[in-house]
């Protein structure tokens, strides 16, 4: 996604939910929304971390003022 942000690894945008954060990212860096959202949901295969914790994978997730958000590929796994 860095090519969309002009090389910036970390950007600061306002928003009280993941949805608002994505919308605000889109305003600043057009194309961002297409990568992160599909309709009114998070795009399949994208995981959201808020302050280091993996969230429930919803754009409805609430975000604190100083929260650090990461969009990463979703993971899966297998035990016995």
């Amino acid at each position: 996604m860095r090519n969309l942000t002009g090389g910036e690894e970390s950007v600061t945008v306002p928003g009280a939910t993941v949805r608002e954060v994505i919308d605000n990212l889109e305003n600043r860096y057009p194309g961002m929304k297409a990568r992160l959202r599909e309709g009114d949901r998070l795009k399949p295969g994208v995981a959201v971390y808020i302050n280091g914790l993996l969230t429930r994978g919803s754009i409805l997730e609430r975000v604190d003022a100083d929260a650090e958000i990461h969009f990463l590929p979703a993971i899966s796994g297998g035990t016995t």
């Binding site: 860095r2 090519n3 690894e9």
Partner: protein, 751 residues
Amino acid sequence: MTENKEYKVVGTRPIRHDGVDKVTGRALYGADFQIAGLLHGRVLRSPHAHARILSIDTSRAEALPGVKGVVTAADLPTAEDRIADLGEGAVNLKYLCDNIFASDKALYKGHAVAAVAATNPHIAEEACTLIDVEYEVLPPVLEVRQAMEPDAPLLHENIKTTSMGETAEEPSNVASHIQHKLGDPEKGFAEADIVIERDFVTGTVHQGYIEPHNATAHFNQDGQLTIWCSTQGAFTVREQVAEILQHPISKIKVVPMEIGGGFGGKISVYIKPVAALLAKKTGKPVKVLMSRTDVFEGTGPTPASYIRVKMGATKAGKITAAEAYLAFEAGAYPGSPVGPGAMCIFAPYNIENVIIDGYDVVVNKPKTAPYRAPGAPNAAFGSETVLDEIAEELGIDPLEIRLINAAKEGDRRADGPIHPRIGFIETVEAAKSHPHYTAPNGKKHHGRGIASGYWFNIGLESSVTINVNADGTINLIEGSTDIGGTRSSIAMQAAEVLDIPAESVNPSVVDTNSVGYTAVTGGSRTTYATGYAAYEAAQDVKRKMIERAAKLWEVDESNVQFADGVFSSINGKEEQISFRDLCGRLGETGGPVVGSGTVNPGGAGGAYATHIVDVVVDEETGKVEVLRYTAVQDAGKAIHPSYVEGQIQGGAVQGIGWALNEEYIYNDEGEMTNASFLDYRMPTCLDLPMIDAVIVEVPNPGHPYGVRGVGEVPIVPPMAAIANAIYDAIGIRMTELPMSPNRLLKAMGKI
């Protein structure tokens, strides 16, 4: 709530609830299911690794007496090229369907082409040989670097490399590229006193569960479909089958039978939709079983990979920069675990400057599936041997260099997120003081190696219902397939809340019509998330029981407390009633009590492991013998320590197999030549010593008892630990997996 306090049930070792059924042969696994009128299904598979399917003629098969129905890709609804999120990981439906039955192209040897239902399995098998398929054989692409060449034959005309949403112009076998960058790697390497860069190659390996895939399906006239099967997740079977057959989930009931191992390999569906199609066509229940060869050739292994790791450090052992290039074989369709591999590779360490590139590449091999910490073992084989080499060059103890660089709470992972409370340092400290590490190690051709590993663990959805019985016991209803004793580790968490013995809980794993949505038993999540749901359901029961006691005593609920298994009134009345006695009075106080808990927790704490291994190398034959093995792991809180140890031991041994002998061996035509337990060499008990499992407990703040998932991380360190031990024994760095006798002989220059 996360201090390491004493519990009454948590941390004890009761007999598992399903134990008697499993030691008497009474437990019913998928293949054990019987029903009147049952037909038997078998699957015809492509003999070619890459071929266009020109025609399929099933008429001779259909004419065989005893054959009741034949199905092919033509019987599947036309799939959209659309991404669906099926519980654990996103799936392109077109690929999902094409992997059930090859439509236009067979993309690996073993790719299903057609299936037959007949009155007995031998007839079904014979009928498969009577299906005439005309193929145009194409050149196979069998290795990741070959597949990435610009002139490589293409598996899919429509795949173009994507990079977090951006798509390239030209078609390619490279389905996607990911990159993580932190700090300034160039500057970091410039600051290093020592820089080491090495290439690594790992082979394709299989989960190797002992129970082959199985499914029995029945289609009622009203469209109600029932599937009895072994699976890691009944709900994900329901979702996948619904999408593949375009059948509403409300019309599908999946009944999870006991499961004979999964390790990630029983999440994807293969023959479940096939059984359903055959059942629909014949109007009879149909049981489809895979043979062992079908399992090797037709289900997802974990990928072969090419990995390049470069690390720089100061003389004092501080890592200044790290770089990794990971190319993973996805198999026939996109979706290798290169993502988690890239995120885990340097996760044990706090490194300021990192760059990681990952590539997901299609090849003519079975579509890969998760296998225990998918991606992380491949990655750790590279990073943990390079770090060992740095330590050796600098003359620093290999555990010490890990302590110097160890990640801790508040440090940033290379892929971005900040670590919450983690227990990596604790595992290294425990390894350092373990008698194994301090034991003498100087004999000729003997060597000792250590390595560490990381796995995220996941949360996801779980639901639990608790029904309270009049005798003070509870029935616990859950949707998590029990693969390794989780009925007990979940039941124990409910028992702890209600202060009843583990034996007073009757856990049942039920079908998709009978419990709330529950994600797969995978990602080391079951004891964590379904246990969490059980904790919540038990809390719900406790609240309701407090209401009943209040009603009984005609006091306000706020005046009832529950401690040591007894409800008592405070502030006035001197009333007491035990949990058990109150259970006997539910009818008169308002009727049955049912508690429920549903969760989708985000706080699955990551798990770390540090392993120590001693080996001896036979210099004349190249054979490596594992003499002693110690696996240290942070479990957060071990609910049932015996089964935590079991996960650690089992994972370590799968890693030993991966390290030494396990691999898919292919000929030039792309045929796997060792698709049996005879020649795919998993460890037998004669190949192993006892495995000393050491549990470290650094409670996870994201769980009421501090649980961290334990199932996956133990497979991460073994390959590198053994490679480091082999180096210690004979002075040669092995960079290719498996480190089989033939490869060792070559590396030693003996052949």
